[in-house]
């Protein structure tokens, strides 16, 4: 067989951190043959992104070091490349979809400009052609009304839209190798399907190879030829998808496969990898009671008093025009939404990316000012509460932002970030006490206490997401909006977090609005599900009813698009 396009040989990456040197990647080796897709799955924080960044030669100097290892691209060791050489391959031969599109886009340029730029560098085209190509790409990745959206700035787009901009940017020059780091974390299944098809198409046309990092085994199943499993900065298993899925060897892999929430069944709790192996990777015997399954229906109503009521809520964004940027029109991010939410219940919000989920969540917490309608929280209209009152309210209502990175202050250590809410609301007597509370929660979301002194940029995407979760839960709120809060987590950690949320709900009667595009997760956690489209809630019902017999076509479409989590061979349906 021909020599592989990309060849990573016992790569080691280390970082200098507040608490000494950490090894993020520990001699990792794998190959990517031309025209094939390697799926990389693994625990959050296991070194997937770092590996890919190493391939791009974009590791964060000066903190990062590569003490050992080689990376061959087309037979050349690109670690030895100088800037110019690296530049010549970046963008047009190897390109990358970064894990966190929100922060990865330049805030002051229009999105289409940023896509077009890539094209202009590597292809000799006029800027006009480039722009048109960009708009076309935006269309292909399914951004609504691309010619309009082309003029938007990143902060004016929804998470998923930004992510798709990133994707468009990466595929703009039909690269030989595409590194996709969690490219679909913010995409609802329909869009996800569309994107995956697009990638698959490109692969067919240009024999593009892909390094596809994800935690979503379903997706892996759909797209990957071979799979690499990473765990604690090591590669623990390499094999073709088939094998991985049907005869996993490493306990972690087995755990992963077992942990995914299935649409059909409704376990009380989700299993986590720790159920399959202990700390040092030794396999455990699974006691059947742990996988016991039961049906939510049997559960008697916890409570009946309404905590949150939203009436005809409208939130709009000005659309600017003219040289002096006068407001010519308004875009309704949330358009006349009404619903009720009982105490101790969870409302799952699903819907196409860009349909207004985040905006709705933010509006409820009054982080964006609603234009009309009213929000009634535990019997009190909070639509026009300000100042101190609002501040105190915030103690009870929390949000987990969709974009963890940009919601973390780059100049605060994690311990500061976590203890801050406590300081604000004078929870916990001493500094010590507060710190302990922080530590406890920090571990509950599966992070190591010794990392508390790091700064946000020193974490992996998933880790940051968990930090945000921890921050939101610090105050033991009554009501939490979780915006795509487990999107970047591998199923095991995901399960761990979901369980945590459930436990808290049990204990403290917490109430959640759970925004997610992952229907199986929603299905698992939500008592009721609301389906949003174009700023409206088009359907709302008990979870099971929705899944069993959806009334709206849009919902049907959603459900049908869920990846099966089986192997590519029978993915022909996609193509």
């Amino acid at each position: 067989m021909t020599s592989p396009l990309l060849q990573v040989k016992n790569l080691v990456v280390e970082f200098e951190t507040g608490d000494g040197v950490t090894r993020a990647v520990n001699n990792v080796s794998f190959d990517i043959p031309a025209g094939k897709t390697i799926g990389i799955v693994g625990e959050s924080g296991s070194g997937k992104s770092v590996t890919s960044l190493a391939v791009m030669g974009l590791l964060q100097k000066p903190a990062a070091r590569i003490p050992q290892g080689e990376i061959f691209f087309n037979g050349q060791d690109i670690l030895k490349f100088n800037d110019a050489q690296m530049r010549s391959i970046r963008g047009n031969q190897i390109s990358m979809i970064f894990q966190e599109p929100m922060t990865s886009l330049n805030p002051v340029f229009k999105v289409a400009d940023q896509i077009a730029e890539t094209i202009r560098i590597h292809k000799s085209v006029s800027s006009k052609e480039a722009w048109e190509k960009a708009v076309d790409l935006m269309n292909q990745v399914g951004i609504p009304s691309p010619s309009k959206s082309a003029h938007k700035y990143p902060h004016e787009m929804s998470g998923g839209q930004k992510q798709r901009v990133m994707i468009a940017m990466a595929i703009a020059c039909e690269p030989k190798l595409l590194i996709a780091d969690e490219p679909t974390t913010a995409l609802d299944v329909t869009i996800q399907k569309q994107v995956l098809e697009l990638l698959h198409k490109l692969q067919q046309e240009y024999r593009m190879s892909m390094m596809f990092i994800t935690h979503d085994l379903g997706v892996i199943g759909d797209i990957a030829d071979d799979v690499v499993v990473m765990y604690r900065s090591n590669v623990v298993e390499k094999n073709n998808a088939q094998e991985i899925f049907y005869t996993p060897k490493h306990p972690y892999t087995k755990g992963l496969l077992a942990c995914r929430p299935k649409l059909g069944a409704n376990p009380r709790r989700l299993l986590t990898v720790s159920d399959f192996m202990d700390e040092n990777g030794v396999e455990k015997i699974i006691t059947p009671d742990r996988v016991m399954v039961f049906d939510k229906e049997q559960e008697k109503e916890k409570s009946s008093d309404i905590l949150l009521e939203v009436k005809n809520l409208v939130t709009q964004f000005p659309i600017k025009g003219g040289i002096f940027g006068r407001t010519v029109d308004y875009f309704k991010g949330v358009n006349d939404v009404s619903f009720q939410l009982k105490k101790g219940k969870t409302l799952g919000l699903v819907g196409e990316s860009g349909c207004g989920k985040t905006t709705l969540g933010r509006s409820i917490l009054r982080l964006v000012e609603p234009a009309a309608g009213s929000i009634i929280y535990s019997g009190k209209d909070i639509t026009h509460v300000y100042g101190e009152e609002l501040r105190l309210l915030r103690r009870k209502m929390q949000i987990i932002f969709q974009d963890p990175y940009s919601s973390l202050n780059p100049r605060m250590t994690i311990s500061e970030i976590l203890t801050e809410p406590l300081n604000i609301h004078r929870v916990g007597a001493t500094k010590k006490e507060r710190l302990d509370m922080a530590k406890e929660l920090f571990e509950k979301v599966g992070l190591k206490v010794m990392q508390l002194n790091r700064y946000p940029h020193e974490f992996s995407g998933g880790q940051r997401q968990r930090i945000c979760i921890a921050r939101a839960l610090m105050l033991r709120p009554e009501f939490v909006v979780c915006d795509e809060s487990v999107s970047a987590l591998d199923v095991s950690i995901q399960a761990q977090v979901l369980n945590l949320l459930l436990d808290l709900q049990e204990e403290f009667h917490l109430t959640y609005i759970f925004i997610s595009h992952d229907l199986s997760v929603v299905n698992f956690i939500a008592d009721e599900v609301g389906v949003m489209n174009c700023g409206k809630i088009i359907e709302m019902d008990k979870a099971n009813n929705i899944y069993k017999n959806p009334s709206q076509d849009y919902t049907k479409a959603l459900l049908s698009a869920i990846p099966k989590g089986e192997v590519k061979s029978n993915l022909t349906s996609l193509v």
């Binding site: 990865s104 886009l105 002051v108 940023q114 560098i121 902060h155």
Partner: protein, 311 residues
């Protein structure tokens, strides 16, 4: 936005009121009784009294203040007490040379220091970076006087590359006169500018979008010039625009040594002969400039960074 602009322009009113008040108070503090100075060494008590009457210094303070306000809003500054010249004419005649000197110099200085600071921030921490920084500070540590005396002696007198001093109106003519002071001007402002721009730029180059830009295969220079610079724009704009009013008000030392009949000298003379109308005019002029310019900055902000909203 238009609303905003209008509101900010309306703002001239309180500002002018404030300025004219402060100026008025200060003046009455500073130059006690101007008549003695205005009339020269042989002044007699009687004549001083007459002059005081004539200049309206015997009017009740409030009326005097009203006069100040009036001229502030009508932009009618009347005639200088000391030179008896029409002030608006003095200012126009003086602004021209001042601008001939400071405006080109300023632009060159800004662009130059932007380039330099981009380069050094690219090599941050390396030898050249340190070297340039030290150079900058050396540059600012040397007193302007030293530059002037030396340069004038060496380049104008010894080498005869430039005119020693003087000025001529009209485009190409003034060049040989302002060239040398302009160079000094640039040298003097290079130091602080580079230092400032450098920090601003450094604050940006570790953002994630820079990583993305690299991933696209952009060259470092493009990244710096386009992505980084654009994001660093807000403080740079502020910093640059702040200096503009002072350009028109002229660089006193330079103007004096190179006999450039600019506003710098006029202001100082006014102060030295307690020529209130002129001082007043200068202050009002610069406050108007200030308002307009800070309005411009704010508008530029919104262009520089779409996230900035003006309420």
């Amino acid at each position: 936005m238009l609303k905003y602009i209008v509101r900010r322009l309306l703002y001239l009113i309180p500002v002018l009121l404030g300025v004219s008040f402060v100026i008025f108070v200060l003046f009455n503090l500073v130059s006690g009784d101007p008549t003695a100075v205005l009339l020269g060494k042989n002044a007699t008590a009687r004549q001083m009294e007459e002059l005081r009457e004539q200049l309206g210094l015997n009017k009740p303070l409030f009326d005097q203040y009203l006069d100040v306000v009036k001229s502030a809003f009508t932009f009618d500054f009347g005639y200088s007490w000391a030179t008896k010249q029409q002030i608006s004419k003095m200012i126009i005649q003086g602004a021209y040379p001042s601008l001939c000197l400071s405006l080109p110099a300023f632009i060159v200085a800004t662009v130059l220091s932007l380039i330099i600071s981009l380069v050094v921030s690219f090599y941050r921490g390396k030898g050249i970076d340190l070297f340039v920084r030290i150079l900058c500070i050396a540059g600012v540590s040397v007193s302007a006087l030293a530059y002037i005396l030396f340069f004038q002696y060496f380049f104008a007198f010894k080498l005869g590359w430039f005119e020693i001093s003087g000025f001529e109106f009209g485009f190409p003519d003034f060049v040989p006169y302002v060239a040398l002071p302009a160079i000094i001007f640039i040298l003097l402002s290079l130091g602080p500018d580079v230092r400032f721009f450098r920090t601003i730029i450094l604050d940006e180059i570790y953002q994630d979008y820079v990583r993305t830009a690299r991933a696209k295969g952009l060259s470092e220079t493009v990244i710096l010039l386009k992505h980084v610079l654009r994001n660093a724009l807000i403080p740079i704009i502020t910093y640059v625009v702040i200096q503009l009013p002072s350009l028109i008000l002229g660089a006193l030392l330079l103007e004096n040594f190179f006999s450039i009949p600019g506003l710098g000298g006029i202001t100082l003379n006014a102060l030295n002969s307690s020529d209130f109308p002129v001082i007043k005019a200068m202050a009002i002029l610069s406050s108007v400039l200030y308002i307009v310019l800070s309005l411009v900055t704010d508008i530029l902000y919104t262009f520089a960074d779409p996230r900035v909203k003006l309420k």
